[in-house]
Symmetry: C2
Subunit: 525 residues, 2 copies
């Protein structure tokens, strides 16, 4: 596949900027020859203007028409063939098995949104019919307009140019202007070609999708500040997400930022669970911490348990297994340096004991960091919020609590997370209920006897959580409800049936589920 | 009823602050004798800490138990009797008929939320059962925690201490810390007594409700900055709302601000509508602009029509009727001065013609402003965004467009609004569809052949809209869906049935509507 290194603005390649960067293979630290051009402010403008024009043209497209487009995108991604897998593998080091699965998830996301759109009830129609002294009021969800999306480094498919943010924005009916991640520019350009082909095949306006390259922060700042952008989706670091959030809040006309910024994903293991399943939990934990070289926002980074000989034995076993596991490939130099910095800062705290790892691997010919297990006390973590920082890589921190009260106090002191997990036994159910609800307050998803890595793309999924996990805990970036980030309700008062969208017409021609006079029904009004 | 002038912190009166202010009767400009004490930073702290403690105690209360509490609040408000009406009338000048209706709306809101909670489907349970390679995932909505609420001046009942923000926060299961509006402190204290009585009667934790008085900006700033607050509801001016929004965005841990900040509520009148119904529309428009002395966030402040002799005749008729109408009482001196300032700034634009009014009424013994009608051109309003400023009072601005294209271009240039309205005739439906969708993009509610004042408290209501109408266009501050501002989804993965909330249990013991494996059902899983 012939790549250009250019931006794709409404389907047209453009390389007006003088600044360039290169794709780097994390397995060899070697860079590719093709220069990728950072987008300029003028190119950002053009992309947003094309998105606005596309929205004016497409804002009344039917759900079915949008569903056809989403299916076409999935088909076009598959048509990229194995070139896509090899490109992503070369740019991220994630390996073909993982990437093959991630591609299926990515195309699956587009098709799942397509299926939801064809069913139609996602529009959430609510009707209150005319009554004594009250007008007829009918509301449903509409797209908000052009959306800016920031691709993540760690999922070159499922959270990147063609990831869940883009899929849900397009499914909502919003044009997407995507800032590609500089860690995988070649893969990003391939996706841009797939979107261009899908737009042509389905007769969508060209501005429905643009892809901008950028190795610094300028492109993102221009994009978020642009008055034509109505909402922002972001997956990445706390620092990056907060910068985007702050930029959006500073606008003359602020817009919502849906930033998913990672997490330490606390795991509580009860004494009974340790007594029954120590080996199984240790194996599962090590697999979860090292999977994808630990580069998941749901990586279990904080393990809470009560002190006991069994706990000490368990911690030693996990440490041994982590030590024995090979050091995986990290995505890029920025990730490697960031991890080194975060771990250095943590171990500078005298209350932290490093059980294994804790340092970069000297003279490595690939980007990596030693698998790391640390230990501290509950009082230490309560005394210093910085110990709750995410270490984005194969790193976990045990928090040894003196007793149940110490554990409960520490859970209360946790910051917001994407997930929280508890390992417990069935005969503890009565005792564990309060703790479960405490953990619930700290996360968007609570896992029982499992591990947080692995996020099912289903309707019930909640991939979000209180700050600093996200900037919008009421929303999700994975699963079908991700679409509502990019829609808003609009009500019609006494509007004639002929002018109403089909979803709101008296006869319910779409046959969808609606809340009519406070009763759910898929019949006519 | 014996009032104290104090703050109510978890049911306990407190007056630690040295700063005081007084209740003023806008009909006489006379102030009452009782000093009201601005809350101190320490009092704000105590209120938020009490709210956090209440949340820890009450976060698992059943929907039915919360519904009983909401009904009790409505009963206790009614038990305040006519003292409440007379107090509000004395403090706002809104008159007993309006206030009697507003009280019914206010108690009705609590009972409507109660009914929704008893029905139970508002929890939005979504279940994806265990499948090949997928865990069981179940999500529903949970309360976010303590909420700060800022009462509005113009609805002493329905958008104030016991208004829709408080009702929806309590319905969600969130404790509420309410900053009362200094325009009606006596009325606010009466509500605090009703909440205290309801809490006692239903055995709710005392911190579920606190009421803080404050005549300046300090109390609100302390409240929004407090780490224990999870979300903010605000109704008021753009300046006030933006200040709250900015303060929340600056927090180390930002939180959502649901600010409803007013609007100019554009009304488009077609030539056919004018030809058919000019007199009727003129009467309706004048009634809508002058109702409540124009002090509604849905006041029709911008009227767009195409130039014609009929249009000129219509504008003159509206101007005559406005001129003939008596100058109503404004809520307080701040409102009166703010209106004078806003109108002065607008008429400083040489493209503005004042047709009637435009100035304060000299030597008036009550707070008021002359009923005002202004006129400008479409090109003028497109050239200067400041002409889209809200004039909070009995003021409207006609925008005379040269032709249909000029009108359409002007609608495209509109900022966000709570509502947009179109007056048109049935035989125009084919022509009008595009215009209707254009107006849709600019508002949260689109009204056909009616007027925007009058907001039905029903499930389908959307009282929101793009900035500057609100800071959160995906949400509503009126109607049943207002509750979702103060809830967030939490998912449970593989959690045993016995530990799940009833709404998520296999057997669906609550018998509520759930989305189970992508199908709506009120049966068991």
């Amino acid at each position: 596949m012939q790549l250009t290194g250019q931006n794709y603005i409404a389907g047209v390649t453009s390389a007006e900027g003088a600044e360039t960067f290169f794709s780097v293979n994390p397995r060899s630290k070697e860079r590719d020859d093709l220069p990728y051009h950072n987008a300029t402010a003028a190119e950002v403008d053009r992309a947003v203007e094309a998105a606005a024009a596309a929205f004016a043209e497409a804002r009344n497209y039917s759900s079915t028409r949008i569903a056809d487009f989403l299916d076409e995108i999935a088909d076009q991604i598959e048509a990229l063939g194995d070139d896509l897998l090899h490109s992503a593998d070369r740019e991220t080091g994630l390996g073909l098995p993982r990437l093959t699965g991630e591609r299926a998830r990515t195309t699956g996301q587009f098709r799942a949104f397509g299926a939801m759109l064809r069913e139609g009830s996602y529009l959430r129609p609510i009707i209150n019919s005319e009554a004594a002294g009250q007008p007829s009021i009918r509301q449903m969800q509409f797209p908000v307009g052009p959306v800016a999306i920031f691709a993540a480094s760690n999922f070159p498919f499922a959270f990147a140019v063609a990831g869940g943010d883009t899929a849900s924005a397009l499914a909502a009916g919003c044009p997407a202007v995507v800032k590609a991640h500089p860690g995988h520019p070649a893969t990003s350009e391939m996706f841009a070609l797939a979107f261009k082909a899908a737009i042509a095949a389905q007769g969508f306006p060209a501005g429905a999708f643009s892809m901008l390259q950028g190795s610094g922060i300028d492109v993102g700042q221009w994009l978020v500040a642009h008055d034509g952008i109505e909402a922002v989706g972001f997956t990445g670091s706390l620092r990056g997400g907060r910068a985007i959030y702050d930029a959006a809040a500073r606008r003359p006309r602020p817009i919502p930022v849906y930033a998913e910024m990672g997490s330490v994903n606390p795991v509580v293991i009860t004494q009974a669970a340790l007594a029954q399943r120590a080996d199984e939990i240790a194996d599962g934990l090590v697999a979860s911490v090292t999977m994808g070289t630990g580069q998941f926002c749901t990586n279990p980074g904080l393990i809470l348990l009560q002190d006991s000989p069994a706990a000490q034995h368990f911690i030693a076993a996990v440490s041994d297994k982590m030590s024995a596991a090979p050091a995986g490939v990290l995505l890029n130099e920025t990730i490697a340096r960031g991890l080194e910095g975060a771990v250095s800062q943590t171990i500078a705290n005298p209350e932290i004991n490093v059980l294994t790892g804790g340092e970069a691997i000297a003279d490595s010919d690939y980007f990596c960091f030693s698998n790391t297990v640390m230990q501290t006390s509950a009082s230490a973590i309560r005394a210093d919020d910085r110990l709750q920082v995410e270490h984005f890589g194969p790193v976990t921190l045990f928090v040894v609590c003196e007793d149940a009260d110490d554990l409960r106090a520490t859970v209360d002191a946790l910051e917001g997370n994407l997930t929280s997990t508890i390992h417990a036994e069935a005969d503890e159910l009565d005792d564990i209920s309060d703790l479960l609800h405490q953990l619930r307050e700290k996360a968007g998803r609570v896992i029982w006897n499992g591990f947080p890595t692995g996020v099912a793309v289903v309707h019930a999924m909640q991939h979000g959580g209180p700050y600093p996990a996200t900037t919008a805990p009421g929303t999700t970036s994975v699963g079908m409800n991700a679409i509502y980030r990019f829609m808003r309700p609009i009500a019609f008062q006494n509007v004639p049936d002929a002018l109403l969208p089909d979803a709101l017409k008296d006869g319910n021609p779409l046959g969808i589920m609606r809340l009519v006079d406070d009763v759910y029904t898929d019949g006519a009004q």
